[in-house]
């Protein structure tokens, strides 16, 4: 089945609530229901708090590194909120918050960056794949998981996340094409935060937009203001519904901004100007929805305070978890390489055990 090009073209970015917190004149899209917007705000407050807490913990040496999604929280919140329990999320290293909002224990998500192990949660429990660091590779896994559900006749949808830079990798293109050919229920969600470490979007692509990249594969593209959680809920929600209805994959590009450096190891002043950062500060996703909700009478001080307290609790949980030193278990090195340890690994584990015993005995 071939797709008509008009149906694939991404329109202008969808904005439902503008940077000042006012409802835009866009009447092609309905505003999500009030309770869903309040829920999104509540998650945004927690999301922001997790980002800032994790960033502080890096400075205290409790985390090796933290790629913060500060500024991108609306994308994180919406990606998690539009999914049902049986759907899957495929996050990257920057999507800690999305994984937490899907229900994964925050301390578990941060295990990778704390350095105890490569991943700190069971992917099947909340249907969240391990966070992917090799760029774009997870997108093909997402297609496979979606196709498996499809083969079994299950209604699950897969939300696959990546950044603007990752759209240059070959795997991104293969994933889009595979998803399209197999009609797999995948939503490819690109958080275009304008940079891949120091490299600006202009060096990744001269396409009219990243969402246009779907056209060549027969996948419809959509663009959305990545700091407007209402628009994100609307666009991503529709993409998920469409995939669930058997209409195949979609590519959604959100325009947003990484307010902090790539990680704490990076110095963003080397490649971007302060006034650019300041301009995006004015488009802050948390303040925007808060202004709207207060103006619409959907949020009062007491509720806002309750949400802040809830976020504070999560932050405390994160602090406690990361301030707890876990004694590494040497056998973990050897236990999970294969389903069963090989004789060679038995030998190596024994060598290490001998060494550690000798060390203990004070040799």
């Amino acid at each position: 089945m071939t797709a008509a090009i008009d149906a694939l073209l991404p329109g202008e970015p969808v904005v439902l609530i503008d940077a000042d917190g006012a409802r835009t004149p866009d009447d092609a899209h309905e505003l999500p229901a009030a309770d869903s917007l309040v829920q999104a705000y509540r998650s945004l407050v927690t999301a922001r708090r997790i980002n800032d807490q994790a960033y502080a913990l890096v400075r205290q040496g409790r985390l090796a590194v933290y790629p913060s999604s500060h500024g991108q929280e609306a994308c994180q919140v919406a990606a998690a909120q539009v999914l049902g329990e049986d759907d899957w999320l495929f996050p990257t290293y920057r999507d800690t918050v999305a994984a937490v909002l899907r229900g994964v224990d925050p301390v578990g998500v941060l295990v990778l960056l704390k350095g105890d192990w490569h991943s700190g949660y069971d992917p099947y429990e909340h249907k969240v794949a391990p966070q992917a660091t090799p760029l774009a590779t997870q997108l093909l896994h997402a297609v496979g998981v979606a196709h498996a559900a499809q083969l079994r006749g299950e209604p699950a949808v897969v939300m696959a996340l990546c950044g603007d830079g990752a759209t240059s990798e070959g795997d991104f293109h293969e994933a889009l094409n595979f998803a399209a050919v197999f009609g797999a229920p995948v939503v490819f969600f690109v958080q275009n935060n304008q940079y891949a470490i120091s490299v600006p979007l202009a060096r990744q692509s001269v396409a009219p937009s990243l969402a246009h990249k779907g056209i060549g594969y027969g996948i419809p593209g959509r663009r959305v203001d990545g700091n407007d959680v209402a628009a994100l809920l609307s666009v991503l929600g529709a993409a998920v519904q469409r995939a669930r209805d058997g209409e195949g994959p979609q590519l959604v590009e959100a325009h947003t901004y990484r307010m902090q450096a790539h990680t704490n190891a990076d110095d963003a002043t080397r490649y971007r100007a302060d006034d650019e950062v300041a301009a995006w500060e004015r488009r802050d996703p948390v303040r925007r929805i808060e202004t709207y909700l207060r103006g619409a009478g959907l949020l009062d001080d007491a509720t806002a305070a309750a949400f802040a307290a809830e976020a504070e609790q999560v932050a405390a949980q994160v602090r406690d978890g990361l301030n707890t030193d876990v004694t590494p278990r040497p056998d973990d090195l050897f236990d999970h390489v294969y389903a069963r340890r090989t004789p060679q690994l038995d030998e190596q584990a024994a060598l290490l055990a001998d060494e550690l015993a000798a060390e203990q005995a004070g040799e």
Binding site: P134, E169, S198, R270, L345
Partner: protein, 327 residues
């Protein structure tokens, strides 16, 4: 002229000098332009030589290496950076099927004077995919030169030699040594590709190491000396081509050898070295050649890496096992 600089600065200087010396040298990769690379190896090069000579590419390793092949076919000498060891894997197809083979496929009509720089190996508390010792993949692929410097002076010399080479070179840069400061003579004769060196004289046994394991081997030799045992340390430097002559002469002189490397030991460069030494030095050996390597496991997370990496103690235990008559 001696100066105290880091390996990172030595590599930066090598690129700068090469860009000056030869207008066909190009430097490109991810974040190597205005940022100067995540390890700052290309710091200042875009400012000094312009966007045409040192530039950022779209984020795609296969694209970077594939385009380097074309540039090399058409008159340039590309020096590309893979951001980390494990992020070079998307370029594997280009490396093994094209970079390594074009000369052979064309009976020598096409040579590929290109350099693939790879910050590699562990010991920096890095999370997964940032600490791989990937030398065996490259060393096992005929057609590639594979180099691994262990200090700033060699890093400079080997990178200059790699850029001057008409064969493709994979330069493995031990990232844990990037910031160690050393006295360096940048005007010293470039060691050249294919030459090992005896780093420390010794008479009782020989430690053979390369890249990040050389400082560990030297430290082990220092400790052994205090315990009355004289260990010689050979720095392989050039994994491919391998300097059988220097390594075997060293081992024959002591009659005992331990090969030290971070990579998993199975089917590894350390395994190859042990086999070569055993074959060539059999009649001089008092004990089987031992290997001290990483375990046969994926590179562990930061909190466990110290258990995995070859340590001074593990090296000295292996030395103790070399069938000493007086033991």
């Amino acid at each position: 002229m001696n100066q105290k600089i880091t390996m990172a600065q030595a590599l930066n200087q090598a690129l700068r000098d090469a860009l000056h010396a030869d207008p066909t040298v190009l430097v490109f990769g991810e974040d190597v332009g205005p940022l100067g690379g995540v390890f700052r190896i290309t710091d200042g090069l875009t400012a000094e030589f312009g966007e045409d000579r040192c530039f950022d590419t779209p984020l795609a390793e296969s694209g970077i290496v594939g385009m380097a092949v074309g540039l090399a076919m058409n008159g340039f000498r590309p020096v590309v950076e893979m951001q980390f060891d494990a992020f070079a894997y998307p370029a594997f197809e280009q490396v093994v099927s094209h970079v390594a083979k074009l000369r052979n496929r064309t009976r020598g009509a096409v040579s590929l004077p290109l350099v693939i720089r790879v910050p590699y190996a562990g010991g920096i508390g890095g999370v997964e995919h940032h600490c791989d010792s990937s030398e065996a993949y490259y060393a096992h692929t005929p057609g590639l030169h594979v180099l691994a410097p262990s200090n700033a002076e060699d890093a400079y010399g080997l990178l200059r030699a790699a850029i001057a080479s008409d064969d493709p070179v994979v330069l493995l840069e031990p990232k844990k040594l990037y910031w160690s400061k050393e006295e360096v003579d940048l005007t010293a004769a470039v060691p050249g590709i294919g030459r090992a060196v005896v780093r420390r004289p010794g008479t009782d046994a020989t430690l053979v190491a390369y890249g990040p394991s050389v400082p560990t081997a030297l430290e082990a030799a220092e400790v052994a000396a205090q315990e009355g045992r004289s260990l010689q340390v050979v720095d392989v430097r050039s994994i491919v081509p391998f300097d059988d002559e220097t390594v075997c002469a060293a081992v024959r002189s002591t009659g005992r050898a331990v090969v030290v490397a971070e990579a998993a030991g199975f089917a590894s460069v350390a395994a190859e070295i042990a086999a070569r030494v055993s074959e060539r030095c059999f009649h001089h050996l008092h004990a089987p050649v031992r290997r001290v390597t990483g375990f046969d496991i994926p590179y562990p997370p930061p909190k466990l890496e110290h258990l995995h990496l070859p340590s001074v103690d593990r090296i000295l235990d292996a030395v103790d096992d070399l069938q000493w008559e007086d033991a």
